[in-house]
Amino acid sequence: MNVNFDLQKNVLIIQPVCDLDHHHVEQLREVIDYNIGKKEVHHILFDLSEVSFADSSGIGLILGRYKKIGEKKGQAGFINVLESVKAVLKISGVFLLAKEYKNQKAAVEALSKGGRK
């Protein structure tokens, strides 16, 4: 699978290892949702260090997962977003919904303590 998962405290770290285009997003959605559905997961953190390309399909995936974690009253965040990927994500306004953190430790700290909405 083109995605790694790691649970730190109650934060599910989602690290896709592929382009976030229509082709890959179709494969990722189900396995990500399965993991978000686990009861110990309260928040999600997208680690985009291995994503060198994302387009509107990737935005759709991210917004969809933001909605899913929102249903559990959780928050979402980002780390390691490449500049070019950031330019696309900015068009969607997704950074207004989910903050970018400077590293994993800071993100897990903030998300896990930030409590639920």
């Binding site: 382009d19 285009d21 229509h22 390309f53 509107s56 759709g60 070019s84 330019a87 696309v88 068009i91």
Partner: protein, 141 residues
Amino acid sequence: MNDFMEVSFNANSENEAFIRAVAASFILRLNPTIQDVYEVKTIVSEAVTNAIIHGYEDKPDGIIKVRMQIDERGVHIEIWDDGCGIEDIEQALEPMYTSKAEQERSGLGFSIMEEFSDKMRVKSKVGEGTRIYVTKYLQGE
């Protein structure tokens, strides 16, 4: 400098990465910036994804054609399908509009293409297909 290339391929989602790589390598001789390359890849990716999902409604036997022409100033891209066509182009171009919300489409494909290009024109006829023309001027390095 004036040169062109043309590629046809099946409306198979695996070809999205293929055509992005083709587009990126074709413009390399213009010494584009990293951001320019990314933007051209994104424009092509969005248009081809639209053709696959909407034009051919996920039927991979459809054929998509991409033609790129370069000159000193930049690149002209044409993306062409023989799919179902767009009934209301104005509505399709609206940010966040999608006819496939159930598939979690963000409705931002055309907005991103417009954002990253200098000129964009969409021609479509229901039952006949869609042609998208994009011009992008490159800054060079």
